[in-house]
Symmetry: C2
Subunit: 216 residues, 2 copies
């Protein structure tokens, strides 16, 4: 390995900081716009994700238009209320108190789709598990998330949405799979812990409890 | 935002280096063992991935045993030959010349599974798209991959495998989903470009061609 392939101590620290200080941001977005060259850097980071057979199955829809975001917000509110019915008593009170999306507050939303039939890659690596095209797209999302943290941008992943309705709103071709809807923007703060941990929704398990050796 | 929340120039460069210099490594593994504390760092990076509802649906099986790896290699060879039938002529010649996995060469393999029914997270965010549990697990894989790059460790994702057979080999409970099988180890070099690009299998598309604004 060339010496220049090695990371400096500080570069390595940057990678771990991004991983440990990344948050799923819902509550702390600021309205400041994201400069185009910064947004471009995080999108290019996403575009350099690994992909099965070098298929690059993703597309990114950058949503800034307030009317579009407000339609998405309505979709979210509807899905959030429906999902609320699952919870009762204390858990329901906790659920109702959680802020679950920053669709309207964040200046930019990004919808990430996957074209599972994209010709690129010539099918390599996709015969035994067709989900790998979706997985490649998720790798792009995680690249974007970490690059954003390095740029002091918060990202929130909204999964409580009616995807069919969202595809119509955004004009996404029916044959594509909607993988992620992200809110992105500068923030007033990065919390030390995940929101759901801080609010008592769930605790972090130990690494030991999910690590096995040689066999399950 | 606190000043300390900001990344230094070099920390930010580390994040982008990991993203741009990460490779899907198949050919350049060295036999040197990975020290436990280093392996632990990359696993802990994976364990700090985002997860829907803070569900943490992943498990990691660290495979070092040569007999187990050799059984997995046999599985891969079988699946690789089967997949080869898809390609003809020049493409078949190219396919046969590609090295597609480092299962036996890399000192450590890591199998990553997803428990889609894990109680953790209380179902939050999983009603509208149940795939998000799988997606959380893929985020863990990408965290691991980037942390590994910062540690000068190469990672290769093997998708050409009979997953049912692999689950039996590793004793994975039937109800879990096998998401990724990774090879990890120190390397003789990190190539400048993806293998599949270098060998002429596929080219990288432009970011512009996959970016849309406000609507598809």
């Amino acid at each position: 390995m060339k010496e220049t392939d090695e990371f400096t101590h500080e570069e390595r620290r940057g990678v771990y900081r991004a991983i440990y200080e990344r948050r799923d941001v819902r509550s702390h977005f600021l309205p400041e716009p994201i400069p185009d060259h910064v947004l471009n850097r995080v999108l290019d980071a996403a575009h350099h994700a690994p992909s099965v057979g070098f298929m690059q199955p993703w597309d990114f829809i950058v949503v800034r238009d307030a009317a579009v975001r407000s339609a998405v917000y309505e979709n979210f509110e509807c899905a959030r209320r429906q999902a609320a019915e699952l919870y009762q008593g204390e858990q329901r009170k906790l659920y109702d108190g959680l802020k679950l999306a920053g669709i309207a507050d964040a200046p930019v939303n990004i919808c990430v789709t996957c074209d599972q039939n994209r010709a690129k890659g010539n099918g390599l690596g996709r015969q035994t598990d067709p989900s790998v095209a979706l997985y490649s797209t998720v790798c792009a999302v995680q690249n974007l998330w970490l690059a954003a943290r390095a740029e002091s941008l918060g990202v929130g992943w909204v999964s409580i949405l009616d995807f069919d309705r969202l595809k119509v709103t955004l004009g996404i071709p029916a044959e594509l799979t909607l993988v992620a809807y992200l809110c992105i923007g500068y923030v007033s703060e990065f919390r030390q812990k995940p929101d759901l941990e801080e609010k008592g929704w769930e605790t972090r398990g130990s690494l030991e409890s999910v690590t096995h050796f040689d066999k399950w």
